[in-house]
């Protein structure tokens, strides 16, 4: 029986970190990249995983429906003897991971940080639990399905020679499912489909929380971010409840996970759900008027003070330095 591990590739993704996690856990097993479509951009993404083989799943269309993608992947996994399938940690692929995990009957989890071999027939996965308070080790029965956070890609990676042959797995199975299309994706409205601000690659971030009293006062934060050459981010209440900044600037468990060299948390109390998104930053600065705010426990340097006094002075001081 063939044994392998599989990574699902999609155009625009850099799969190298995911592949590193996979190889660490399953060293020696061949790595197969599953491609939902055979386009050049998808091939480039697959190449970033440096796979031993590339297999186009389904009928070579993008498989827009979770149920169709899961059915095609299940067939491909069984054919390839996949002990582990890694999918990108994105909304759409999480649906597919859940459906595929249920179909295969093995262990399944999302947003895995690390993987290693467990006792016979299991893999061990580390992931956060309880709002990021703890790292848990989960035992996953093989065949396991996990999602891993993947960064956006550099374009034009070169496929290794040995993986240049493309193979279609089971066109009939997925074709049949496609015919029963209950879901009708409408064209995403152009203006609404704005691309996210790229917080994941920002070297410096100034983030704001509920300490800010009025939306107009965002200009203070913008001023500080400008002298630092930083991106602006925010907490969940600012994006979700007050809607002062767009969702894609939300840092935390339900938003982005960022690792800039410098993270300035302004008027942020430090709820665990926010800390999870920024605690791996290089240097963390907290500005908050409440000396007991949990953010100070998570910061390297804290300034206890009213942000309306501190931020303008800090902005001026930094501008004078430049």
């Amino acid at each position: 029986v063939t044994r392998s591990v599989a990574i699902v590739a999609e155009a625009g993704l850099d799969l190298e970190p995911a592949a590193a996690i996979v190889r660490q856990a399953t060293g020696g097993l061949p790595v197969v990249a599953f491609l939902p479509d055979g386009g050049d951009a998808s091939l480039a993404a697959a190449a970033s995983a440096k796979p031993d083989r590339v297999v186009v799943i389904g009928d070579g269309t993008a498989l827009p429906l979770a149920e169709t993608a899961a059915a095609a992947l299940e067939a491909a996994c069984r054919q390839e003897g996949a002990e582990l399938v890694v999918l990108p940690a994105a909304v759409r692929w999480r649906e597919v991971a859940a459906q595929l995990g249920f179909r295969l009957g093995g262990g399944c989890t999302t947003e895995v940080l690390e993987l290693r071999r467990g006792e016979a027939g299991t893999l061990l996965a580390d992931r956060l639990l309880y709002g990021g308070l703890v790292v848990a080790t989960l035992a996953l029965r093989i065949p396991a399905v996990v999602t891993v956070a993947v960064p956006a890609t550099v374009e034009g990676a070169i496929l290794p020679e040995r993986a240049s042959a493309l193979e279609a797995a089971t066109p009939e199975a997925s074709k049949r499912l496609l015919d029963r299309r209950q879901l009708e994706p409408e064209a995403a409205e152009g203006e609404a489909a704005e691309r996210a601000a790229d917080l994941s690659t920002a070297g410096r971030i100034v983030a704001v929380g509920r300490g800010l009293r009025r939306q107009e006062d965002l200009s203070l934060i913008e001023g500080l971010a400008a002298v630092l050459g930083a991106e602006i981010a925010c907490t969940r209440p600012i994006a979700e409840d007050l809607e002062w900044l767009p969702e894609e600037r939300k840092v935390g468990l339900s938003g982005r996970v960022v690792k800039p060299a410098l993270y300035m948390a302004v008027g942020i109390s430090g709820a665990i759900q926010h800390l999870v998104g920024m605690r791996d930053s290089g240097v963390i600065v907290a500005i908050n008027s409440d000396p007991r705010a949990p953010i100070f426990q998570a910061a390297d340097f804290g300034v206890v003070g009213d942000l309306y006094e501190v931020v303008p002075r800090l902005t001026a001081a930094l501008a004078a330095e430049a």
Partner: protein
């Protein structure tokens, strides 16, 4: 129109602390609640009910104590509630994995069928895996949309808007279907303690896995496909240097410290 809302009884994550000795999360000291997101799913179901006269059935997999959570759901407007109690192991309720939870929920769903729409929270507040909605869809063989931010329902279909990785998508789903919602979809109305207390326990139906025809052996800890083995505290140590005093002086110290660490040139 029959809407099924799936809820999880969880410890309030914002109140959860670690045992300073062992680093273990002190789950028993955190107050229990309906998981955020699930609360939104429930309110969305009740909102549809108010507009259309739908019936709302609440399902939950959890320990006996979750009865209070389900009473809250009834107080919030659900017509009936069923608590599926997983088997116990060493007198502790089994920590059922998402696959097991989905199997139990599906067994309960078949009990209350026919149904049109299954509403779930997009993730649970405690585990945050976001797998059960997809597993329900796979088990029931019906379509799914997750991360819903807007829902409009007619007799035979739902129009669902979601934001997937910064792209806004709109789907039309013919019933039956599974939709999981984010917290932005609505602001759940508050329910008072008095309203919860007034709900008689008899409004909550309790069933065991065996009564639903689900093989209990498959839900034993050793038989679960996914199992939590251990936990450890997640935070990395920081310098924790807090500067107090005159704003100009502290800012001077801060800028100097940042230069020293190399965070500023």
């Amino acid at each position: 129109l029959h809407i099924i809302c799936c809820l999880k009884h969880v410890p309030d994550t914002t109140e959860l602390r670690l045992d300073p000795e062992t680093g273990r999360p002190l789950l028993e000291y955190a107050p229990p609640k309906i998981s955020d997101y699930d609360r939104n799913a429930l309110d969305e179901g009740v909102r549809v009910k108010e507009g259309s006269g739908a019936t709302v059935t609440v399902l939950s997999v959890g320990p006996q104590e979750a009865v209070r959570t389900l009473k809250e759901a009834v107080a919030a407007g659900a017509d009936r509630a069923i608590l599926v109690i997983p088997p116990r192991s060493d007198s502790e309720p089994v920590d059922v994995d998402p696959t097991g939870t989905a199997r139990l929920l599906v067994a309960a769903i078949r009990r209350v069928a026919p149904f049109d729409l299954v509403l779930c929270g997009d993730v649970s507040e405690d585990r945050y895996q976001g797998l059960v909605p997809g597993m329900l869809a796979a088990a029931l063989g019906i379509p799914q949309v997750s991360a819903a931010t807007r829902l409009e329902v007619t007799e035979e279909a739902a129009t669902v808007t979601r934001v997937a990785d910064a792209v806004v998508e709109t789907y039309r789903l013919r019933f039956p279907a599974v939709v999981s919602v984010t917290r932005t979809i609505n602001t759940p109305r508050m329910v008072t303690t008095l309203q919860v207390i007034r709900v008689p326990t008899s409004r909550i139906t309790m069933v065991s896995a065996a009564e639903l025809g689900v093989d209990e052996a498959g839900l034993a800890p050793g038989a679960l496909a996914t199992r939590v083995l251990a936990t450890r505290p997640a935070a990395t140590p920081r310098r924790n240097k807090v500067l107090t005093g005159e704003p100009d002086a502290t800012i001077g110290q801060l800028v100097a410290a940042l230069k020293e660490t190399g965070a500023l040139p």
